[in-house]
Symmetry: C2
Subunit: 355 residues, 2 copies
DNA sequence: CTGAAAGCGCTAACAT
DNA sequence: ATGTTAGCGCTTTCAG
């Protein structure tokens, strides 16, 4: 047989000598069927190789036991790990995951969300791309699909929960550590561009900012608290690429030789920054301290071992999944915001500044 | 509105003053509808916020435009990248991906495959776990679902294509490089255990072996071709864990101090092996050469830079996706086996042996 | 405890 | 070019 859907519940019913409905009830393990028929139906179903058609079931019940996960980059370690813990968490409750990588393209994100809705997933977890147009997400939530925003907010979308690292606090951890060591000239390589308004940004007024912007804001605020002047020339923008981060870091060091420490706010940027420091001729941590973002497997393999701000990636995935399951089970429950704390892992790439 | 599935095609039809089927045809862009009605239906649908129910559609057409991807470890870089290229490739053809991480548990794999079948996916790509029971996969394929095996074979399952790195060749690349440098005492850290039969294994008689066993076989064969004796004590087993690989490598070096080179056959094992070499007191590559598996972002960040055997991960994902799409489009087409070539990236961790 | 019938939302003949 | 009818496979009233 090469044809799909060979045996239906009708075949089972016929072979067991009962009606379609009785067969259905027996298979569902309903209590109002006699043990005898239940057994017989089960046996016949097994013999025939019956496999229930969940599509048909979903048509009636209205739920698919499927959730969507939409992230910008499936091969990014952060999202890959988040996906894994999401999948694990929802599976315990009988859900499968429809996944979609948007590769930085808003249009792909829009279409993915549209398709998920058309496939009637019970809920969606999305790490939205930055952009003005949140219409697709708003509609999804308003149409009654449970929605959780992961890692990145979507300003125009209420009715969605939000789970993320507390990025301002994460930066404070890094900068306070450096300041405590005596650093005063601290550069930053970030995927966000500086905006003077960041200085005043506080939770929850920053709720609309992307992670990188939040981390930059945390940097600015931590410096300010410490009474250290904030210098725009110390903040270097880098696109989402290790190679570009390399160049940004080299430039930062060349144009501001007085810098004694660099903080890098993203895991793909950290690799480029580390390589740049290696090639700069500066000795780390003697001449320059470096803090990376996210814990990589290489953090302890390189020399010096890298001090990093570590996000609670797995916990974020679990929290997002749990919030989603809650929203599915209880659609009227108001959305929640959960900011999980990062922590600093001090290794050998940070030290007292020279002289 | 918090209820799902607010507006159906009947609502659209009614609002547009046409019949259900005309509305359906118009929405599908069929040519036999007048431009006027097509426009009107489209406008009305947009106004009402109509979203087609793909479940209903799938019930009739028999396909879901969804493929399943089942892998042991979603956070492993190899599978994460493969997943990304699979998702990208199938999306171009209008397919979404239902993903499932089996975490090394056969029972989870079985259930995942069962669920995918119940959800009537059009095809499945699976990297099966090692084990005697392939029944779930065989049934899937025999019931007419397109099936591609990724990275690992499943002996009892014909009617499935197979896409993988040519692992024997991959090991030959590594060992030939070391032998060419003059090494004669070459150890291996592998997730496979040595079996004398490996010495004779050749494609396609090795078709049933897991990647790690294939790589071990390649090591044995390359040594044999070079006239170097194969010593069981040079082959060290490690479970799938960086920490365990660390211990295995330390032990290998302690018990066989004459070894001048180590080849490590898995990406998670490579990190542990590298750390072990760092801590061994041996200078790499002067005292000991090391070859890792898969290209990691840290390969160029550590010192010495790591020489590795690099798998064509993205190409594997693309090939698996394409073979699957082919099998979906043309169910009678016989399954294919594709072994893609790895290549050696020579960096600084390999050199002529001391003395 | 079991059966008959209705219908989920849509497409696909079959008419007109 | 449009409408009517009949299902896809299943669950779920409603009757017995």
């Amino acid at each position: 047989m090469t044809s799909r859907q060979t045996v239906t519940i009708i075949d089972v019913a016929r072979a067991a000598g009962v009606s379609k409905s009785t067969a259905g009830r027996a298979l569902a393990g309903a209590s109002e069927v006699s043990a005898r028929t239940r057994e017989k139906v089960a046996r016949v179903a097994a013999e025939l190789g019956y496999r229930p058609n969940k599509l048909a079931r979903s048509m009636i019940t209205g739920n698919t036991e499927t959730v969507g996960v939409v992230v910008p980059d499936l091969s990014n370690r952060f999202f890959a790990e988040a996906l894994q813990s999401i999948a694990r968490t929802v599976r315990k409750h009988g859900y499968e995951v429809l996944v979609s990588g948007t590769e930085g393209e808003r249009e792909l994100e829009r279409r993915s969300v549209e398709t998920l809705a058309a496939k009637r997933v019970d809920g969606v977890i999305v790490a939205p791309l930055d952009g003005p147009d949140d219409e697709h997400l708003r509609r999804l939530a308003e149409d009654g699909t449970a929605l959780v925003l992961l890692d990145r907010p979507a300003p125009g979308v209420d009715r969605a929960s939000f789970v993320s690292t507390n990025n301002i606090e994460a930066s404070r951890l890094a900068i306070d550590h450096l300041v405590g060591l005596g650093h005063r000239h601290i550069g930053i390589v970030s995927e966000a561009r500086y905006d003077p308004a960041l200085a005043d940004a506080t939770e929850p007024s920053t709720a609309g900012l992307r992670p990188s912007a939040m981390r930059l804001a945390g940097y600015v605020q931590a410096l300010t608290s410490a009474g250290i002047p904030v210098r725009p020339e110390y903040m270097r923008y880098s696109a989402y690429s290790s190679a570009i981060s390399y160049d940004a870091t080299r430039t930062l060091l060349r144009t501001n030789p007085e810098i004694t420490a660099i903080y890098c706010t993203d895991n793909v940027l950290s690799a480029g920054a580390f390589a740049a420091v290696q090639d700069s001729g500066l000795r780390c941590p003697h001449d320059l301290s470096l803090i990376g973002f996210d814990d990589h497997e290489w953090s302890t393999l390189v020399r010096p071992r890298l001090t990093v701000v570590e996000q609670p990636t797995e916990a974020i995935g679990v929290a997002a999944a749990e919030d989603l399951l809650d929203a599915i089970a209880e659609p009227t429950r108001p959305p929640v915001t959960r900011l999980l704390s990062a922590h600093l892992v001090v290794r050998d790439s940070t030290a007292t500044p020279r002289g």
